[in-house]
Symmetry: T
């Protein structure tokens, strides 16, 4: 039966929670295959004293391990 791995990433965006999620997943897809689902674990961000300057979304991303793939 299939085995999946979950990794923890933090995506960032100046604009929105969704853009932060998508930037993390786009980055993950550069070196990982079979990305299958994500789970948001934390939403936070930085402020420069008066305005939100960055949304930071901690998410877990799950993907199916292939036969010969190192973990």
């Amino acid at each position: 039966m299939a085995v999946y791995k979950k990794i923890s990433l933090v995506g960032t965006s100046e604009k929105s929670v969704e853009e932060a999620i998508e930037s993390a997943i786009r980055r993950a897809a550069l070196t990982l295959r079979n990305l299958s689902w994500f789970e948001v674990k934390e939403i936070r961000g930085s402020i420069d004293g008066r305005r939100v300057t960055q949304y930071q979304v901690v998410l877990e991303v799950g993907f199916r391990l292939e036969e010969e793939e190192p973990i």
Copy 2:
């Protein structure tokens, strides 16, 4: 005094967390009256290998029970 019930729904959207929430509430309003508040419990989604294909938001929705309404 009033008694409320809370149910757990999962709304989905290809676009945003807010659209997923609103789709769940619009659906609930088709068969439930007196919807009053919601609480987001989880934000997750599916990926087709490289891009987010669906936001899934688990939310609890509270509504006031009417006198004669079955629970």
Copy 3:
């Protein structure tokens, strides 16, 4: 070494989670200096029976205490 304080605010918006966060932080910046980061603790909202009328985001906001600042 620096000491920070965290306070708990609830921002609201008719439109989005991000706007609710930003409204809380803009309000905090009116009377607090050195706002530095935020952490989302809860996302909830009110419904008028059929539609979301308000997003409510509970967040903790951290800021560096200045030398002589009362806590």
Copy 4:
């Protein structure tokens, strides 16, 4: 073997936590049979500026499903 269902209710009272719990259970008993146990999940309430005006107790109520009962 028996199967149970748990539902989530919010009982309210102007007076006490116990009265809020009991009002939720009395209401549930109007349309549900076999109520068997409850678990308090949250205690909260509203304030009119200076005094508690309502206790709100979120509770889960468990009951045994009968053979032919719709879920």
Copy 5:
């Protein structure tokens, strides 16, 4: 987009955690369509003084709501 509902059930078995899960899902399938996934929330049980007499598994079961289905 699809909307799902999650309900909370307690399955029981004299023998194993898996049998308790399966008995809850078999019961749910009698009156609900489109059952899609489950999540175990608690594993507990009763003892008659010296031996386990019943495994009780609290689980949430998710299913897709159909167009016209009451919630």
Copy 6:
């Protein structure tokens, strides 16, 4: 849109959980306006060896910030 602040208080009473909650809110109302809701976070107490001598209830109290009010 409105912004709310939440503070954390511990009310105490020799008699009951409700009295401890109400004493904290009465005290808060002496110097804060617009108190709007509370959430119980912990119930604990002290014992003098054989009897409960004090109920201690940790609660968060939310109130709407006025325009010019310092946070």
Copy 7:
């Protein structure tokens, strides 16, 4: 320096949360010395189909260990 032990008890009452707490502590005081504080962990109860028949309060009770006392 002092070392304390915490034990977990479940007090019961037909009437109230406070009476359930106090019954557990009175019982503990029969065989334990130096009881010092308690923390409520769960509030639950049983229902006979239509009415609460018993409040059950799970609490941890802390007490100072004496020099030669077995743990």
Copy 8:
């Protein structure tokens, strides 16, 4: 009214979660009367590099205290 105590045990088995639970309860029954229920708190285990060598189940076991029984 009855008072119960809960203790925390770790049962172990080379074979299954259920066997680990049952071994803990059988051991508890050697020196404790009135064992009444259990709650699984953690499931973990040891690996010898390539295979599970032991399931370890942390569980809380509840039992009614008798009149004169030391706690």
Copy 9:
């Protein structure tokens, strides 16, 4: 002193929780040395409308890092 790494895997099985755990660990052992312990974080599964078709167990697996091993 030794340093360990923990990774998060999801094992699957049509039959049991234990088989899902063991399949994840067998897969991990193909490319990782020194596997030492596991902790179950979630038990869930898929349903084809009426029957459990797959147990999915999320677990963390710990292993000792060797001197020169990339993390």
Copy 10:
């Protein structure tokens, strides 16, 4: 009866968890009276690529409110 307030601070230190806690409390004592207890909520820190450069301890600090003290 006494009412207490809890505030949330982050103490920092280059050296140890204890020094971070103590620096937060020393700072709080400059403008708050009656500090009575603290609870550690998080331990974290920053790294400059290879070494811990700062311990950051999030703690809640409780103090008794005086009669006329603004909250």
Copy 11:
């Protein structure tokens, strides 16, 4: 297979978290055999208005039960 018991202790120290842990374990070893591991559950302490006067560490301590040992 072996069965373990876990108990909950609070160690105290004027100086450090580690000293509080070690004092609890040294005390436990006076009347318990086979102490095997500990898990820190809470770190807190008392303040005399301006300085930490005591670190209090809540920890669970696990030990293997011997054949004939009362629980």
Copy 12:
């Protein structure tokens, strides 16, 4: 925008929590660049019957992913 990865490590020390944290980070820095922050998740340890023989600190370590770096 930057994307970060978080990994989970367990550092060990015979002496202190801080030394366990620092040993994990020193080891991570041997094969990872851009280490940026850590979060303590658990503090535990082993006992040889009477004395703490090892502090074990589970921590998450975050680092910025470089352009071409495999995840």
